[in-house]
Structure formats: structure tokens, C-alpha cells
């Protein structure tokens, strides 16, 4: 009844191993760029969300609701298939020359994730006592510079645990990029499976890659939090 012959050598050596390694590289690139951009964009949206200028407030609110409440896969398709028809030809030509699949995936992941990160940062900011803003403003800092030098550095520290979650989500969500032909690890695992019919081995390899990546990200951030950030905030 259990006649399947395991052959792990398929995924640990040779051509297929190289496919998987190149997939891992693309997954890493996708994740790192999306994490960096979504964090920066999330910061900006969070600050906009706390503005008292009405149009900025409305825009950021709409942005959050729109991108949080639509599926990531649809957003990826939208950027990949949809934007092609509305963007000027010059931009399309340029995008085609620089690996449009990869760019669309990073854009979709960045925008989708930034909405969640913005909300996490905003709740971090709200937990900073209002006296911190008063102290900053009394020294002569403008609202935005108070945010930049005094409030956000503290808020981001408090936001580390939910940020770890978001960064892990980015890494895992990057697997959806295979649907528009980005040759990341899931795509490559699928390829290996198609060529070898060794589905169990190839997807076990992909699973272990995601698990490893996630554990490394979570570990690094926890370490950073413990070594660098906590002592500043009076923790151990």
C-alpha cells in the first residue's frame, strides 16, 4: 500500500537543486524588497492617517480599507494584467525591460502589506503618552519632525512583535508571485514536480525553505529587540 519510492537526491543535488536555489534567491529578493518598501510606505501612511488635514486623512483611510479588504492575489493580477492597459507606453516599455513580473509582485506585496503595517504603527503611536509630543513641540520641533525624531522611534520599538508577523506574512505571501510567472521557490518547486513527478520531495523542500526563512526573520528581530531596543525602553 505504501509503494512510493522516496528520492531525496532529486532536490538535494543536480539541476533541480539549482532550480530550487535560484527560486530561493528570488523569494529572498522579493521578500527583502517588499519588507523594506512596505515598512517605509507603512510609516508614511500611518503618519498620514494621524494627520488633521481632512483630504490626507480621507485618502489614507480609503487606502487602508481598500488594500486591506481585497485579496492579495487579485491585487497581484491587477498590477500585472490591469495596469498594463492604463499606463503610458513609455512606462510599459521600461517595465518590460526590467522584469515586469518581479516589479508587479513587489508593488502588490508592498502596497498590500503597507496597509497592515500602517495600522500596527498607528496603534504603537497611540500608546506613546501625549506628553512626549508636548515635550517635543515645546522644544520647537514641528509636528512632522516630532514624529520623526521622538514619537516614531518609540512607536516602532513597541511595534516590533506585530511587525515580525507582517514580515513573516510578506515572505509567505511572496509565493503568490508564481501566478504571474515570477520564478520564486514555489514556482520552482512546481517545476521540479512537473519534470520529476516527485511532488512530495519538491514541496517538502519548498516548505522547509519558507520555514527556515521565517524562523531566521523572527529570530533576527527578536534578537534585535532584546539586544538593542529593550534596554533603551527600560526593559531587560
Amino acid at each position: 500500500m505504501f509503494s512510493y519510492q522516496f528520492d531525496w537526491s532529486v532536490v538535494t543535488s543536480g539541476q533541480y537543486f539549482e532550480w530550487l536555489v535560484s527560486g530561493l534567491k528570488i523569494t529572498l529578493e522579493l521578500s527583502v524588497w517588499s519588507i523594506i518598501f512596505s515598512f517605509l510606505l507603512g510609516l508614511i501612511i500611518a503618519v498620514m492617517r494621524m494627520s488633521n488635514v481632512r483630504p490626507i486623512l480621507w485618502f489614507s483611510h480609503a487606502y487602508l480599507e481598500f488594500f486591506r479588504n481585497t485579496p492579495l492575489l487579485v491585487q497581484i493580477f491587477f498590477w500585472y494584467f490591469g495596469s498594463y492597459q492604463i499606463l503610458p507606453k513609455a512606462i510599459n516599455d521600461w517595465l518590460n525591460s526590467v522584469n515586469f513580473e518581479f516589479a508587479a509582485a513587489v508593488i502588490a506585496l508592498t502596497i498590500y502589506t503597507s496597509a497592515f503595517i500602517a495600522e500596527d504603527i498607528r496603534s504603537g503611536v497611540r500608546s506613546i503618552p501625549k506628553e512626549q509630543m508636548e515635550a517635543a513641540r515645546s522644544s520647537g520641533f514641528s509636528y512632522l519632525r516630532s514624529m520623526r525624531y521622538i514619537i516614531l522611534p518609540q512607536a516602532v520599538r513597541l511595534t516590533i512583535p506585530p511587525l515580525i508577523n507582517q514580515f513573516l506574512n510578506v515572505t509567505k505571501n511572496s509565493s503568490l508571485a508564481m501566478t504571474i510567472g515570477v520564478a520564486e521557490i514555489t514556482y520552482q518547486a512546481r517545476q521540479v514536480e512537473s519534470y520529476t513527478f516527485k511532488g512530495f520531495e519538491s514541496f517538502t523542500a519548498a516548505t522547509l525553505v519558507y520555514l527556515g526563512l521565517s524562523l531566521v526573520i523572527a529570530g533576527l528581530m527578536t534578537l534585535y529587540n532584546r539586544r538593542v531596543l529593550s534596554p533603551m525602553m527600560g526593559g531587560k
Binding site: E134, S139, M232, G234
Partner: protein
Amino acid sequence: MIRFEAVHKWFKDLHVLNDINLHVKQGEVVVVCGPSGSGKSTLIRTINKLEPIQKGRLFVDGKDMSDRKTDINRLRAEIGFVFQQFNLYPHLTAIKNITLAPIKIRKLPKKQAEEEAMALLERVGLADRRDSYPSQLSGGQQQRVAIARGLAMKPKIMCFDEPTSALDPEMIGEVLQVMQGLAHTGMTLMVVTHEMGFAREVADRVIFMDYGVVLEEASPEEFFRNPKHERAQLFLKEILSPMH
């Protein structure tokens, strides 16, 4: 230096500042006292527009605070403000708390800002705590760092909003001594406090408030020996001998 002209302020229906007329001259040390809820904290917070006023005019260093053309951030840099709860930046060390505004706002080179900050830490007796985070300092030490932070901007005015009220009794003296030292340098000080010893020894003038109104304005000798208003008499009696 600071001039209130018929200043009013309301919190919803509550008339927290009622027709305030005051003039604080350059180099003067003015102590504001009164029962809690009298409006004294609100009064001092209007000076750097942490609380906006709704009627009347307020001039600080010759600038009209309610004029939209007044650059409020630039004016605030000229006013040191010390809070009851210190409000140091918890993510920065003592010296970074002090140098942040001079570097970012005054555009001082880092090295010069640090030298000046060290001189200030020396002055408040905390040179050895330069690399401590606020959470590693006692209340009295935090407040002295906060004073140094205010002084680092070389302000024309220093405002103190109940600077010793959150401190354990044995730490009050160290903070008051720093403030007394400041008064002797000829800086303009406005201090909201219940420390009547400080008022008696350091103040040029004492202002007594209640219900948002300035009820009495006198020299310390006059105020303590012969308070005119009955509310002030009661206040002094309660604060100087609370058991009777």
C-alpha cells in the same frame, strides 16, 4: 518679556482663564501658586501655546502668540519648558535627550552640542550619568536632565510647571537648588509650584490664582506676611500648616 492682555480661555463651559493681565519683565522670577484646578498650569502652558487662548492677547518676547504669522516653532525654541512628569525621551540617553534639539533645530555640530550638554550636565550635577537612559535615573535626576535639556536651547525664558510635584520629598531639594542657581543667572523664570520656601527665597513676585482669576499679585514678603485676599489666606494657612 511675557505680557498677558485680558486673556480668556475656556474648556467647553469651564472658564479656566478669566481676564488675565500680567507682565513678566526680563530677568524676573515669578512664582504662580494656587489650589489645584485654579488654572495655574493652563496659564503657564499658554506661554508656549501648548494651550491656545481664545480671547485677549498674549505677547512673548515681543511676538503676538495669536498672530498666524508668528512662527510658533521658532518661538518655542526660545522658551524652555519643564514638566511635572519630566517627559524625557525614554529611547535616548541623558546626553542625547539634551543634544537632540540643538543639533536638529539649532543645527549645532554634534561635537559642540555634546560639549555644551556636558557643561550643562556638570551644572546640574549629573556629568557621570551622561549615558544613562531615563529609566535608569531617579525622579530628581530625570528632572535635572529635563532642566538641562531646556537650557541647551539657550532659551530667553524658562517655564516650570510644578517641577517638584511628582518627586519624592528627598529629591525636591536637588531640583530647587538647580532652579535657584538659574534665577541667579538673570534668566526670566516663570514657575508654577507649591514650594513656598522657593517662592519666599527666590521669587521677585508671587501670583495667586483661583477659579481662573489672578486674585493676588505681590512681592513674596508682602504675600506671605499679609495676604489680602481671603482665598489666599486660606490657601497659605493650609499649605504652610496642613494639620491645623
